[in-house]
Symmetry: C2
Subunit: 204 residues, 2 copies
Amino acid sequence: MTAVDTKSTILDVAEQRFADQGFAATSLRQVTADAGVNLAAVNYHFGSKEGLVKAVLMRRIEPINDERRRRLDALPDPPPLEDVVRAYIEPAMQTASQVSGFCRVFGRLSAERPPFLAGFFGEQFGELGRRFVAMLAKGAPALDVQTIWWRMHFTIGAMSHTLLNAEVIDEVSEGACGTADRAAVCEQLVTFAIGGFVQRGETR
Amino acid sequence: MTAVDTKSTILDVAEQRFADQGFAATSLRQVTADAGVNLAAVNYHFGSKEGLVKAVLMRRIEPINDERRRRLDALPDPPPLEDVVRAYIEPAMQTASQVSGFCRVFGRLSAERPPFLAGFFGEQFGELGRRFVAMLAKGAPALDVQTIWWRMHFTIGAMSHTLLNAEVIDEVSEGACGTADRAAVCEQLVTFAIGGFVQRGETR
DNA sequence: GTCTATAGGTTGATAGAC
DNA sequence: GTCTATCAACCTATAGAC
């Protein structure tokens, strides 16, 4: 066994490239050249470009969703609303703070959403999403199910946008937002999301 | 003058294609074939593929930002926080409800962010973004500037994600969220964003 | 303004030697 | 498992006739 094997080197480089450029704009030639491996290695190890991007995503999503399930399992009944929100946000934000490529690869691909990934996100998130909605409904009994769904989508959008555009946020705010302190970013997001969730209903 | 001229037909078709597939995955051959015009017409009217996508974006962004400026101009001093939030969200959501392609083309391209558009979004949003931050700060004097910036980014993320994924939201929520009623979606979003903004500070 | 034809380059994937 | 060589398809952009 060498220091790092071809397969995981390809995964690392591909994650970075897909994060920077997206799926359609990234060629296998770029990936294999950066990784210092042969062009044919991608097809040998992953079958196709689509197989590669799925492998890149799965490597990060599975541990995050496992951690989310573990946290939901540990909550009391009824669960505090804040803890449910944190169970969703924190595992992803912590991974993003440890794995630089993941900061954007997930947000980018979920925005680009190439056709062959259409079912993929539904599979990864369907059952877990329904569990979160059920828990949120218990934590905020005054809200109807439709409102819970909407607010979860808004929370996902805020998080996805933040993961995707960290450096843009730094730039456009002229340094007011320090994205380097990931823990502080996570707290800002949690606070905002909880504020959105505790609203009673329409404002007009 | 014919019923619809070549140039605006290309813009309409390109908007739809870029919305569905993004920039890199859309070829000029698809656009010109759908539009029933010649391949060379794109380069004649827009100079290049990049020129085309900029024209597609400008056609929608300019009126939206003009309307936002008009609304900011009309606010009292100090402005009610809710009205500032509405001044940002409503012009975009109303355009999205009238122009089906815009629902996704803006969110998609701002997520894909091809390199040549890097400066474009900054130009379109820089001055206006600073104006919104200043107005939000007046409307929520208890918050520091950094928190204002973060919450505006979260609001943009929630809106962008909603515009981009309307049909996905319908599907994953199993119909609980009716995206067809655009006005109701807009109200859900405004309510959520205001809730996030009125939070006093950290929750822990 | 619109067309055909094509230049000049890239892509994903694979066959077959080692 | 890794390599070279190559295929067939696709792309943007342009030159030049009408």
